[in-house]
């Protein structure tokens, strides 16, 4: 089942850990921004940028690249950190996050930073854009195109009607090179999703919309990889991967708390968080040795 050998899993874990450290450092410098979502998605971004995506950080406009559309633009820190570690721009630049004239706008702006596929922030529109891209590819290259379109969404934005408009269209068009991933962390600004606006049974809802749905742990690389490989093999249906993640993952102090959705760490909290991540890094090394 697992395509990933141990060495690769270790590599991806180390990258994810480095991405988490960069997220904390960037948020500390910025003094505002979102902490829980970016940390929770670090493993998936590590997997995408260092394994799944067909891309070239030195040539961000390469026309044959896969497309990654981040719909929930507020988790930009994890996207920026993954891009920096992949070589799109210097890691040092992450410290300009949210600052005046920075290419790293508070929510991503396509025109400011090469490698971003879209500008996002207002929730609910990313899947539609990925559907549009996949449709254009279908017109140009037909049903056998091997280019993949990844749409990353939050769970909270499943409350937006537009998501379901896009879901219907993607299913009708049988866009099997479209792979949507929901960060299922059960939190949003006002509280736990199931208190704010219950979303479950999420899997059954998407299946009822004629999507192929796979549930994974968003922190298990073998699990994530198996799901993406399965999605690529499915014919005639778009795939949704519901990735169960722990918000704030990697820093026990932040984990699972919706209060960390939209605020950055203080200096003391950041120092403790970075220490936690360093010891986690040590564990990754020893576990794989």
């Amino acid at each position: 089942m697992a395509h990933l050998h141990d060495e690769k899993v270790r590599f991806l874990s180390e990258k994810a850990n480095a991405i988490r450290g960069s997220i904390i450092e960037a948020l500390l410098e910025a003094g505002s921004g979102h902490t829980a979502g970016p940390l929770g998605m670090a493993d998936i971004f590590s997997y995408l940028f260092f394994h799944a995506l067909k891309h070239d950080p030195k040539n961000p406009f390469w026309s044959e690249r896969d497309r990654l559309v981040l719909s929930n633009g507020h988790i930009a820190p994890v996207l920026y950190a993954a891009m920096a570690h992949a070589g799109y721009f210097p890691i040092e630049e992450l410290k300009t996050l949210r600052k005046f004239k920075s290419r790293l706008q508070g929510h991503p702006h396509r025109e400011w930073l090469p490698g971003l596929e879209t500008s996002s922030g207002p929730l609910g529109s990313g899947l539609s854009q990925a559907v549009g891209m996949a449709l254009a590819d279908r017109i140009d290259n037909g049903r056998t195109s091997r280019r993949y379109f990844y749409a990353l969404m939050s769970d909270g934005e499943q409350e937006c009607g537009e998501v379901w408009e896009a879901a219907q269209l993607a299913a009708r068009e049988e866009l099997h090179n479209l792979i949507a991933i929901i960060d299922r962390n059960y939190i949003q600004i006002d509280g736990y999703t199931e208190d704010v606006m219950p979303l479950d049974p999420l899997k059954e809802k998407w299946e009822a919309f004629n999507w192929h749905v796979i549930e994974v742990s968003g922190h298990d690389f073998a699990d994530i990889d198996a799901a993406v490989e399965q999605a690529k093999a499915v014919f005639g249906k778009p795939t949704l991967i519901i990735a169960y993640t722990v918000p704030g993952k990697g820093v026990p102090e932040f984990e699972g708390k919706y209060e960390w959705h939209g605020k950055p760490p203080s200096r003391e909290e950041a120092v403790r968080a970075l220490a936690e991540l360093r010891s986690l890094g040590g564990k990754i090394k020893s576990e794989h040795e």
């Binding site: 396509r110 025109e111 500008s119 529109s125 549009g132 891209m133």
Partner: protein
Amino acid sequence: MSEYRLRTEAHLNPHLFDVGIVEEPIRKGYGEGLLLAGKENEHVVALCADLKESTKTDLFAKEYPQRFIEMGIGEQNMAAVASGMAAMGKIPFMTSYAMFNPGRNWEQIRTTICYNDQNVKIIGSHAGVSVGPDGGTHQALEDIALMRVLPRMTVIVPADAIEARKATRAAAQHKGAVYIRLAREKSPVISTDDTPFTIGSASLLWGGGAANVALFACGGLVYQALRAARTLADMNISSTVVNVSTIKPLDKKTILDAVKDARAVVTVEEHQIHGGLGGAIAELLANFHPMRMEMVAVKDQFGQSGEPKELIHEYGLDEEGIVQATQNLLSRLC
């Protein structure tokens, strides 16, 4: 007719003031223009939200089924899908009633098209009270304001079916977001194939030089403005009539030339009095040439059911309303 001073270089319909002037829906010009644009450029694609016949997108859909996407009733999704297609090099024309597109999907247009700088054309049909019997829910009177305020948006309101055809082809060649406003009802065909059209150019149709009043109009009401100009001439009130088919960016030079030797300005549009053509002209004149204005428009109210002609009259947008507004304005100046 020569004393009425129709501009020859505008090559208008020579039967403009005839009783039986040919009428065609402005939306039909869009459908024909889209078909031509599709022929000229294989990247042109069309999206429509369950209204392909009434928006005349069906002409394109029949010819190019592979490049037509039926969106169902989902205008928000349509805007963002169009943005995604544009990101891949397509030139999407997305069409519905103006009430829903851009009425319902404004934020998606702002973020995924304008902020994102994607090459999408937004077509809002059935704008204005001339929608008629469907009533106020379907009579978009706010769309020019909604689109005019967006950075990077070009806003075009064609005066007749022929201009709509030209505007559609021009929009396909223009790089960037464009909004084209269309009307449901048949409108008099005032122009000809030879009438010049360029995005960003307003055109002088009547008069020129010193005049009592400069009339700026857009859409189907340009015809009413021309009729009003003729009636005003009979009353010894001279005027110039300018078709402001591109509301954004405004043709500053043509507009300032037209007001230079005029005593007052009247604007004419089938839109709310706030934020439309009148507002755009007022903003320009306030900066460069302040002068008294009267806006012929719907006065901060909603439409209702009725025949188009009845409604145009009820809201004071026809020839009679324009003449009256002009007289009122001039009398206040004395």
